[in-house]
Amino acid sequence: MLQKIYDWVDERLDITPMWRDIADHEVPEHVNPAHHFSAFVYCFGGLTFFTVVIQILSGMFLTMYYVPDIINAYESVYYLQNEVTFGVIVRGMHHWGASLVIVMMFLHTLRVFFTGSYKKPRELNWVVGVLMFFVILGLGFTGYLLPWDMKAYFATVVGLEIAESVPVVGDFTKTLLAGGEIVGAQTLARFFAIHVFFLPGALLGLLGAHFYMIRKQGISGPL
């Protein structure tokens, strides 16, 4: 049945070369853990992507209940975690996954660094990777405010103070991020917008570039 549907579509749209090109490529021996177990370090990039996918999925579902408003934000988080079935699990996925993305990304960066994979001709891919590092830190920073509890509030207060300490542009940056002079209604609304629209959009674009480049240039050679 599935095969028939696939054949029907393939006959008309010739989709086989498309997924072949994406999925069907050789894995060199030096990155295959079946040959050298230590090659598992090459899995961290994929694991980072996997956790990012989980973050996107669980985040999409969380927005079904979450309200980015200073009166209701905390109550809606409390409700979705304690009243909605599996709410603990879905919010738990997003909460723990957030830390896991950072950990995986860090391990991936270490592997790229110590295998020298950032060297010519792959410098641009390193640059894109570092940009994603900042985007993901931004996702962590903006997401932290959303539950609107004491920890969230004061973490953001401190974060914005740090931004303010930057010479020349500090004041401007702080006001722009906070959406005003205080951490309040506008801060929450814009952190939500940045967290669910702007940064994920940027992240997906950068991911596309990251994956395109690694396919184009191939994985770096053995040490």
Binding site: L57, N72, E75, Y79, V84, F86, G87, I89
Partner: protein, 167 residues
């Protein structure tokens, strides 16, 4: 295919099965909580609604009268005071409590408000009509009678709960 006949599984088949199995298990582990989470409002029953004191039996007559009453409505994380309307009248000794929600498309009916149709509930949206006991008039849009409120009379006071469909 011959290998299948001999109940032997090739290395490639074994890998396909195990990888699909493990992958499917992991995908299900992610998809299941997310799906149940999203379906929650549809799967959880509505909250209990407390009976609210609406009127005293002494006030009621044979003629339907409009009573507005307020109660605390819980809506997920939001609690608010909402106002609801009931049409009450006496049928002998029995108290009848009708919902004002038209059974056609949910507009609000009014008693005796249209000159052409005296002593009927009239819905201004599409001209739906109901008799005094709430039964829909044939030939008008509504397909079933007005809902009646869950009701209780205690110490001469009428308490109302949620509207119940009588089909």
């Amino acid at each position: 295919m011959s290998s299948e006949k001999e109940h032997r599984v090739s290395r490639r088949q074994f890998l396909t099965y195990t990888l699909t199995g493990v992958g499917g298990f992991m995908a299900a582990g992610i998809a299941l909580p997310l799906t149940r989470f999203a379906l929650d409002p549809a799967l959880e029953g509505g909250d209990e609604q407390e009976m609210v004191a609406v009127a005293s039996v002494d006030e009621l007559t044979e003629e339907p009268q409009r009573f507005d009453y307020s109660f605390e409505q819980e809506d997920a994380w939001h609690t608010s005071e909402v106002t609801q309307t009931a049409w009450l009248y006496l049928d002998g000794d029995e108290v009848v409590a009708l919902s004002p929600v038209c059974t056609h498309l949910g507009c609000t009916v009014d008693w005796d408000s249209n000159e052409d149709f005296p002593n009927q509930f009239f819905c201004p949206c599409h001209g739906g009509r109901f008799e005094k006991d709430g039964v829909n008039v044939a030939g008008t849009p509504p397909t079933r009678p007005l809902d009646v409120y869950e009701m209780e009379v205690r110490d001469g006071t009428v308490y109302l709960g949620r509207p119940i469909s009588r089909d």
